[in-house]
């Protein structure tokens, strides 16, 4: 006899089709929760944050554990694919190395054998490590609901801490990531700061994606997104604009980092003060942009 953690009892449901899931979600009226890797759901159930009547296992629905890649179509990741499987997929490693960096910043390897990127995004934690990468990569989220499938751009997906744009009855089927903006020469970097070197939630996370862009005055376009410094993961267009508007210099990078810091609206909590988070947005944005810029210059693909 082993002591069991005191999980309240619940019904485990494994529907055969997305339609059935939607129906169940609507019928249960909030008493059901989706279950994929369970790395977050079970912890929260144990800690009493919620006590669902039904756990709906959606991992085995058609397509939920598939990864597809095409040069034109881009990448499609089933919502039930565990993070380690995504990170070691050759097409992901080759075409979306930034996504691999972000995934490897999540918790631990052990946890990532269960945890899914779909779950990470749907939890809508401001600290989700895969969210800034998904933001700068321009991910689209394909959800299933009452009227079948619809696409929600990642920019519109997060609406508050723990809140997404999904309507009652909707759930995530897959994450679609378009081809990289430039076939060659794009560089991405995810920098995460925790209280320890490995496993902590982000105090601040910064994703930077840069690519050669002839239309930009600097010759480069940048996309920058932040975790843990606002009610949702956010893009910082102000910093991105500064970096494309004129030739890049250390001063311009400083100005972009300042703009990112101004955009951040962090809170004080037990992990960090708001003030420190702001300072770190600046420091990590500067570091991330610098690294990306130097890598792009060094690649010899484009000299602005």
């Amino acid at each position: 006899m082993l002591p069991t953690p005191s999980l309240a009892s619940f019904d485990y449901v494994k529907p055969a089709s997305p339609q059935e899931v939607t129906k169940l979600l609507l019928k249960s009226n909030g008493a059901a929760r989706l279950f994929m890797g369970g790395t977050d759901v079970f912890v929260r159930m144990r800690d009493g944050f919620f006590a669902p009547q039904f756990l709906i296992d959606v991992k085995r629905l058609p397509g939920m554990t598939a990864i597809k890649f095409g040069k034109r179509a881009g990448l499609a990741i089933g919502a039930g694919v565990d993070m380690n499987t995504i990170a070691r997929h050759p097409a992901v490693a080759e075409n979306y190395p930034l996504l691999v960096q972000a995934i490897e910043a999540v918790a631990s390897y052990q946890l990532r054998t269960r945890a899914t990127m779909g779950g990470n995004l749907c939890n809508a934690s401001p600290a989700a490590d895969t969210a800034p990468a998904a933001l700068v990569l321009g991910a689209n989220l394909v959800v299933h609901g009452r009227r079948g499938e619809r696409v929600v751009p990642i920019e519109k997906f997060f609406v508050g801490p723990g809140k997404t744009a999904m309507k009652p009855g909707e759930f995530l089927l897959r994450i679609e990531i378009p081809p990289q903006p430039a076939q060659r020469g794009a560089v991405g970097k995810y920098l995460k700061l925790g209280r320890n070197a490995h496993g902590d939630l982000a105090i601040v996370g910064v994703a930077v994606l840069g690519y050669p862009d002839k239309k930009a005055k600097s010759g480069f376009a940048f996309r920058i997104a932040l975790a843990s410094v606002a009610p949702t993961p956010i893009r910082v267009p102000s910093a991105e604009k500064i970096l494309s508007a004129s030739a890049i210099t250390p001063e311009i990078i400083e100005a972009a980092a300042d703009a990112a810091m101004e955009t951040a609206k962090p809170i004080d909590d037990v992990r960090s003060s708001a003030e420190y988070r702001k300072a770190m947005v600046r420091a990590l944005t500067k570091r991330g942009v610098m690294e990306v810029w130097e890598a792009m210059k060094g690649s010899g693909v484009f000299h602005g």
Binding site: M1, P3, T4, S6, L193, R195, N196, A197, H198, G199, D200, L201, V270, R271, S272, S273, E275, Y276, A279, M280, A283, L284, K286, R287
Partner: protein
């Protein structure tokens, strides 16, 4: 190999939480979870009617409602006044754990919340609210030490360093949270199977609170998942026994991590005000130190911790003029108690940082200034007595640590060369040095002792040896070391030794596994018993049996006015050099490399010693840099391991080089000294010195959270 390795690796070893008995009930504790309040009404009626509930215990069910190691000043269950968040209000016993938990939440308690006293220095002010009736002015203990004349010493000093230091609480974070099971054994003794550090102390505390004779209580330790001092005071021992005896059924409890973190004591937070003076050539001539330790509301082991802090206030140095005033003060913060080093780490952080600041001010090398001032044979301690036990190896330990680290090559003198040719980087590298001494055993007037019994079985040859002793194997490997010592004395292989340990029904007291004492004191008891049994064996007694109680040389407590004392029986000596890397943009400090030289007297088991050194270094690094115990108005904000972060595998130093030195102690078994605490003690000061070397900034407050570091670097 450790004698317990196979069982622990295969999972055969049972820890208290693994043990289940037929018909057992489950207990849950209702904690106060508020720092200061009066109970207005306590209503258990609804909870009693809840499914599965067998009994609910409150204060009136406890025959003698008090416990505590230093003084029995704490209630087992609170009747009226709550003085800290971890006070126990009621116990629910039910058929299942879930039922007990459910019923616990149905107990209705109405409190009158009272303003908590949370600043130990405010609590010392005249007119401050009285936290506990036993401690007028909230002073639980004051230890003064007076040697020479500090005023004259400062007058003669060419340089003076004055500082104010602050150190935080620390959580033990042992692998296994508190758990246990109690039952009536076949001799009708209430038997508690639990994790602790001293079976006889647990037995005495249980017997006292339940109004029983000692022989009516039995305490057994199975495998124990770490202790570090955190299991020295009572957690689940008394409450399990109370329920088992009343209900006459086995009762089990397992605390969650969160309950463990609010339910047991922490390392004492301290404030240390310090003024040291030295001559131009680097000779320390005066040290004045005031220490205020935050005890929380009850004594626990505070006087012992304070004694070591007062003793360590001048570090491992011979200082002619000393004035120390150490206070431990009652507050409504989480209760403080024993933790690896017993006040030594806090005191040495102050002393060694003072030393490093003096070195800086005098333009001297930190190793050189230490060699000028360390205690040597014949030197007088601040307590005006010499160090016992043979060689005082501090000069050799300091020198060896410096040599092994490559201090002369990489030290302060070489800073310019070091910085040349570096490209501009936010990462700054620095090197730091510190040393310490640690007493072995409780002492300070306490008659140190340990008991052992050895039975030799066989006919022509020794076939089996049974060793009875009381030492708790908390993970440190003491059972292996003790078995080795028995085997060596008897000239038999380790496989022939069978230990019967940690059961008050079969063993008398070996004392606590704390104060780095068991190898020394427990080892002497086993050596003595084995020698006597061997003599009987050669006299042809079959089986040959002998008991022996080792009594260590006498010591004396601090003189109440001057602190004069012969405080300890033996010491261990340690020095550390560290390399750190400071990220000047994020404030993160990474310990790259640590060299730790320890005089252990005689290494009974070098691999276990390396384990202790590496473990202590990592635990001390946590206290210095990452761990950040936070409270607000007496409430704990960091009561989980996701809010209170201990170092993870990627946070530990790239290298810890253990340098084991052997200058035999006169009285230790085979010359062994105790060593399990000392590698903790100098690390904070060594890291602080290295951060200063890297950045030019002194940090007088721990921990080095990135924000604190960054703030001070900005202000530079």
């Amino acid at each position: 190999m450790r004698i317990d390795a196979r069982a622990k690796v295969t999972g055969d070893a049972l820890y208290p939480g693994d043990i289940n008995l037929p018909g057992q009930l489950w207990m849950q504790v209702l904690f106060a979870r508020r720092p200061h309040a009066r109970i207005k009404r306590l209503d258990t009626a609804q909870a009693e009617r809840a499914p599965g509930v067998v009994h609910i215990f409150t204060a009136r069910d406890v025959p003698v409602n008090e416990f505590g190691l230093g003084s029995k000043d704490a209630p087992v269950l609170v009747a009226d006044e709550v003085r800290w968040v971890g006070e126990k209000i009621a116990l629910v016993v039910a058929e299942t754990e879930a039922q007990a938990e459910h019923a616990r939440d149905l107990i209705a308690v109405e409190y009158d919340d009272l303003p908590p006293t949370t600043d130990s220095r405010d609590a010392m002010q005249p007119g401050a609210p009285q936290v506990h009736p036993a401690y007028p002015g909230n002073v639980i203990k004051h230890i003064p030490i007076r040697k020479g004349d500090v005023a004259q010493g400062f007058a003669q000093s060419d340089v003076i360093i004055e500082s104010e230091y602050r150190t935080p609480a620390q959580e033990h974070a042992y692998l296994q949270p508190e758990a246990g099971v109690a039952y009536m054994d076949d001799e009708n003794r209430v038997t508690v199977v639990v994790a602790g550090q001293w079976t006889q102390e647990d037995q005495e505390q249980i017997a006292h609170a339940l109004g029983l004779r000692l022989d009516q209580v039995r305490v057994i330790y199975p495998a124990i998942g770490g202790a570090f001092g955190g299991r020295e005071d009572m957690s689940v021992q008394i409450i399990l026994a109370l329920a088992a005896i009343k209900l006459n059924r086995p009762v089990k409890i397992i605390w969650s991590r969160e309950e463990s973190m609010i339910g047991h004591h922490k390392r004492h937070p301290m404030w240390l005000k310090s003024k040291w003076g030295a001559t131009r050539d680097g000779k320390i001539i005066a040290a004045q130190v005031e220490i205020v330790a935050d005890a929380g509301p009850y004594m626990y082991t505070s006087p012992k911790v304070l004694g070591n802090a007062a003793f360590g206030a001048v570090g491992p140095y011979a200082v002619p003029n000393v004035q120390v005033d150490a206070y431990t003060i009652a507050t409504n913060n989480i209760v403080s108690g024993a933790f690896r080093g017993f006040g030594g780490p806090q005191a040495h952080f102050q002393a060694e940082t003072q030393m490093n600041k003096l070195a800086e001010k005098l333009g001297m090398d930190p190793v050189e200034i230490r060699l000028k001032n360390v205690l040597r044979e014949g030197s007088l301690l601040a307590t005006q007595t010499p160090l016992p036990g043979g060689p005082v190896s501090l000069p050799q330990v300091v020198q060896k640590c410096a040599d092994e680290f490559g201090w002369q090559v990489r030290g302060l003198g070489d800073k310019e060369t070091r910085r040349q040719g570096e490209r501009p980087s936010p990462l700054a590298t620095g090197y730091g040095f510190a040393a310490a001494l640690k007493n072995i055993g409780f002492s300070f007037g306490y008659q140190e002792n340990a008991w052992a019994k050895v039975e030799i079985h066989g006919n022509a040859e020794i076939e089996k040896v049974i060793v009875y002793h009381g030492a708790a194997e908390v993970g440190q490997g003491t059972h292996t070391a003790l078995a080795q010592m028995a085997a060596t004395t008897l000239g038999v292989s380790l496989e022939k030794i069978e230990l019967r340990a940690s059961d008050t029904a079969t063993s008398k007291s070996s004392g606590s596994v704390s104060a780095s004492r068991m190898t020394y004191i427990g080892g002497n008891a086993i050596k003595g018993a084995a020698e006597r049994a061997l003599k009987k064996w050669t006299d042809e007694e079959r089986p040959a049996m002998a008991e022996y109680t080792y009594l260590a040389p006498k010591t004396t407590n601090f003189d109440p006015a001057t602190g004069k004392a012969k405080p300890n029986i033996a010491y261990g000596y340690v020095a550390q050099a560290v390399e750190v890397q400071v990220d000047t943009e994020t404030g993160h400090v990474r310990v790259v490399r640590v060299t730790c030289a320890d005089d252990v007297g005689r290494a009974i088991n070098p691999r276990l010693i390396e384990g202790q050194i590496e473990g202590a270094v990592i635990q001390a690094q946590g206290w210095t840099i990452q761990e950040n115990f936070q409270s607000k108005n007496g409430n704990v904000l960091t009561s989980t391991l996701s809010t209170y972060l201990i170092p993870g595998i990627l946070d530990v130093p790239d290298r810890v080089d253990s340098v084991i030195m052997e200058f035999p102690d006169d009285d230790g078994p085979w010359g062994a000294r105790g060593m399990a605490e000392m590698p903790f003690i100098p690390l904070a000061a060594a890291i602080i010195a290295a951060v200063h070397d890297a950045t030019g900034v002194w940090f007088d407050e721990l921990p080095l959270t990135p924000w604190r570091v960054l703030e001070k670097l900005k202000r530079k």
